[in-house]
Amino acid sequence: MSTLVECKSLSHSYGKKKALDDINLTICSGRIVGLFGPNGSGKTTLIKKLTGMIHDESGSIVICGNPVGERSKALVSYSPDRVVFNAGSKVSDLLDMYELMYEDFDRVCAEENLKKLNIEKEEYVGKLSKGNAEKIQILLTMSRKSALFILDEPFNGVDPVAKESIIKIMLGCVPEDSSLLISTHQIRDVEQVLDEAVFIKEGKILFHRSVEEIRSETGRSLSETYMEEFR
């Protein structure tokens, strides 16, 4: 396992409020990592730092040997915490856009998954249900051959059936040597597929350990540990 992501002394503030406080985090290749914490703990800020949406402040991030920038962005496939596509776009327009902008986008794989999900290419995003729009966003994100996949709240407002499809898409598309970072509050839904868990609180990492270790040492499931830590 090689080091994929290395964050050193990462900090970020919004005005006087500290969102990230001296974060050190290493993610190795081929791992599925869960990022957990209550609202306002700094999960999305950390993800935005990794994807280059947020600049300045102190600390450094290196992804596959590249500092955050255009090279690292080519290696990271990111799905934000809400559907970000224009309601007036057709699904086929989105496929065209991803194909145009990402060299590693696998259009054949994306179209096959669309068929499996029974979503028409000529459908407008604005006319899709929330679950289907979310599925398309995840599907497009996961149809790239990236080194790191980042999903921020992939199950926001979707029903259990849609949730199951999203997990299937997620697991079916990640190449062996790539890593997946999932930030979610719905720990029970992803607990079985995770290799590692990162707990974050008030901008600081409480711990970063393998899920097996947490289970064996505490004798509790990950969701129970979460409840214990943040209650």
Binding site: G15, M53, H55, K73, V76, R82, N86, M101
Partner: protein
């Protein structure tokens, strides 16, 4: 990669820009037909036709400019930015592609617009007051009369070149003022996590408007000081024949310098904010 972003701009805004361009072209044709038809009967109606053409075309071109600015607004202030800013390009390349696409499309519209004006001017000739290019061109030719430049071709070329550059620089300056307002507002909102973004844009817009007023005032003062220096420093009469040619040229030249320098400055700051200080 910039080519890809440019292509993406054309895919996303192609339809609306085609509609705007077609509207200007249709109005140009209608205006020309109406001007020719009314030329034999009434000069007043020809003038009214041209006035309507100028106003409607100007409105369409302004709307097209706003459509392109809206693209930048979407990038910096809406969820669309979360997707577009994750593309593997430097952030300022989004700004470059927006500027290039806007310049190309608005340029095409302006060419159609000025062609329409020129045709109308040629049709009505001296029977009614001229609009736009014809009017400015005549003013310049009048100013040159009896001065250093004797060749009519040289006068014409100089006039057209200076007018086009001055017009393009001012248009670019206005467009970049909107770009600058949006990037600075985005920086403020991102830095302090301000959710009421429209209020920040509004305040930044007012500040930018006042900066523009200051620039315009500076421009007037420099031009006046320059003319005074020319007039008294070298013993020229401000309104005398020796100074007339310079007076005709110095205004657009200083105009190009001041508006050009501020446009470049605004672009550099905006690009720097996008690359190094953007918080989405």
């Amino acid at each position: 990669m910039n080519k890809r972003l440019y292509k993406l701009e054309s895919i996303v805004t192609g339809k609306i820009m085609l509609i705007f361009t077609s509207l200007v072209a249709v109005y140009m044709l209608l205006s020309t037909i109406c001007t020719v038809a009314s030329n034999s009967t009434s000069t007043d109606s020809a003038f009214i036709m041209k006035t309507i053409f100028v106003l409607i075309s100007a409105l369409i071109i302004i709307l097209a400019g706003f459509a392109m600015i809206k693209r930048l607004y979407n990038l910096l202030f809406t969820d669309e930015g979360l997707m577009r800013l994750s593309f593997p390009v430097k952030n300022h390349e989004h700004l470059n592609s927006n500027l290039k696409y806007a310049a190309t499309r608005l340029g095409i519209m302006l060419i159609i617009f000025f062609t329409g004006l020129s045709i109308s001017d040629a049709v009505v000739k001296n029977r009614v007051e001229r609009w736009g290019v014809g009017n400015l061109y005549s003013s310049f030719l009048d100013i040159y009369t009896g001065n250093g430049l004797s060749s009519p071709v040289a006068k014409t070329v100089l006039t057209i070149v200076i007018l086009i550059i001055a017009f393009a620089v001012i248009a670019a300056n206005i467009y970049l003022s909107f770009v600058f307002t949006l990037t600075v507002s985005s920086r403020i909102c991102g830095k302090y996590n301000i959710l009421r973004k429209k209020g920040v844009i509004f305040i930044a817009g007012i500040v930018m408007y006042n900066i523009h007023l200051l620039i315009a005032e500076l421009f007037t003062r420099i031009e006046y000081s320059y003319s005074e220096w020319l007039a008294f420093g070298r013993g020229y009469d401000l309104f005398g024949p020796d100074c007339t040619l310079l007076s005709a040229i110095d205004r657009p030249v200083i105009n190009i310098l001041i508006y050009g320098v501020t446009a470049v400055l605004m672009y550099r700051i905006s690009a720097n904010i996008m690359d190094k200080k953007l918080n989405i």
